[in-house]
Subunit: 323 residues, 2 copies
């Protein structure tokens, strides 16, 4: 509930996720709305519905949501997760409220000081994982080190990498470049058991020469939104130029499949939401305007992370780092 495109779109995504045999879904929200959206699929034995009387909106403050909306779809979903009735939770609701209620209901993973949001960027070669992209705006070096551990665990599971290359986002590639936080973090990462490749710059994000990018949640959030905005803006500018002459329009028509494939490659919906790692369970935060494809892919990511015990891997990697 409470997302930009409405409950039916999310239900549709959940139904699409049933294409993987091992998945069953519990839809939490307004019973009537969900059952309308389900239609003839209501009787599917792999779908369960849990009714919630409240909705956390995009305008609710996270603290108000926690206090006053205990019967909201979001909080009920985390409650089911805490009780072990589901293995992971996916939400496209108010992301501040997701963070606050996930931390409150699920609790931090042992040893993790700050849970972080992990985002996957498509690049020319292979996807790159960035953490944190918005959970923590003021950070210390140890937090950033832990973001690196969590994002590396994610990359190991999702992309099958043995030793993901971890880069520290800075304003220059040379050691010694960076603000005070980055310089301290560089020292921690260099001493860690992670496969640390040093500082990387903003332009390296999309080159495919790094697997994991570590930054604080303020910088990461700006990067995430800047990338989305720039990609959209570039495509509109290109469309604008193409629409100016008849010849160019014909050209576009002939190349339209290439454009469609390109759009699919860079579409946020294909990456499947942003996991909030460092909790005792698996939770995925989706874009407020997630469509069915985005929800389906987010459920797939949740499935992979839970099935491959991402939290055990994080604990193991943290312990290795302690030696």
């Amino acid at each position: 509930m409470g997302t930009d495109l409405g409950a039916a779109e999310l239900v549709d995504g959940a139904l699409q996720a049933l294409s993987r045999d091992e998945i069953t879904v519990t839809l939490v929200g307004d019973e009537q709305e969900i059952s309308d959206a389900l239609g003839s699929r209501s009787s599917d034995s792999r779908i369960e519905v849990v009714h919630a009387t409240q909705v956390i909106t995009m305008d609710d403050s996270p603290m108000d949501a926690l206090r006053k909306k205990k019967d909201s779809s979001m909080i009920l979903a985390f409650d089911l997760l805490k009780k072990g009735q589901v293995d992971a939770a996916v939400s496209a609701g108010n992301s501040g409220a997701i963070m606050a209620s996930a931390i409150r209901y699920l609790g931090r993973l042992k040893g993790i000081q700050r849970p972080a949001i992990v985002n996957v960027f498509p690049t020319q070669k292979k996807p790159v994982v960035m953490a944190d992209v918005g959970a923590n705006v003021d950070c210390r070096a140890k937090h950033l080190y832990q973001f690196g551990v969590m994002a590396a665990a994610f990359a190991k599971i999702m992309f099958g990498l043995d030793a993901p290359r971890v880069g520290l986002l800075s304003n220059g590639a040379e050691e010694g470049k960076g603000n005070a936080l980055v310089k301290k973090t560089h020292a921690l990462l260099a001493d860690s058991t992670l496969n640390f490749i040093g500082n990387i710059e903003g332009c390296d994000t999309f080159q495919g020469n790094v697997d994991v990018i570590v930054c604080d949640g303020f910088v990461g959030n700006v990067c995430l939104k800047l990338s989305e905005g720039l990609a959209e803006s570039l495509l509109s500018m290109l469309r604008e130029e193409i629409s100016q002459t008849f010849k160019a329009k014909i050209g576009y028509f002939l190349a339209r499949r290439a454009f469609a494939k390109f759009k699919k490659r860079v579409d946020y919906a294909e990456t499947g939401g942003a996991p909030l790692l460092g909790l005792n369970e698996t939770a995925i935060i989706c874009h407020g305007r997630s469509n069915a494809t985005a929800i389906k892919n987010a459920i797939f990511v949740a499935d992979e992370l839970a099935a491959n015990r991402v939290n055990d891997l994080i604990l193991e990697m943290l312990a290795e780092g302690e030696i």
Copy 2:
């Protein structure tokens, strides 16, 4: 000297800038190399050459460059500027060395605590100016306020805006969003005489709903390089898709002028370098791989800023803010 494409490319850009009648250029560097590049234009009365025996390379540390390369093209150029023999300096050399030597030789403008690099981003509607994009990685709120003043002065002169809309880059549009630095800066900007429109997000950068974006130099540098990298990467991915089928290639051929116009719109070379504002004179930092077009445009920007007395405007705006 010391740029990626060599002196001849820069000389070419300088010659192109002579298309504006009011411009004369002084080329500072290796006399022989410059005269080879000038060829028959050597005798042009609007071109002067000043010989420099040293070159600051991209690998030189700024402090070493300052100490050991006093006869380098860069330092001689700033020296000419200080002596009033030229009205502005443009360099595509080592940007750390440009900053260090510009501050040392030209000095800070009265009242400015930290000079800042201003960058122009092309957007769908009109260009947007961001400061700081790399001169200052650890900042206080007052520095960010002054970046806003300098970038607004730039926007007034370059884009003829009466009251440029100034936004503060944050991780959310609402007041109260941001890291500690952004929250403090928000209060200063809200109380200032600037046309402050509040927090903006990364995605607003390219929407054309803001004229000036204020951020610290670490975040700005990441944004700048991320944007360059993403634009390049998106274009390569699109080219890759288009090259896969014959039909798409024909389509591209028909639409090629639209692509060329699009590329021109987003090309960094069109924006004309990044001024280092807050000094007693006008200095422009260009990309190390600047081509002739980029140099020509940077000289045009230098011309506009010097002719319109950007520093007097900054001093005036600072004084207004003090009331």
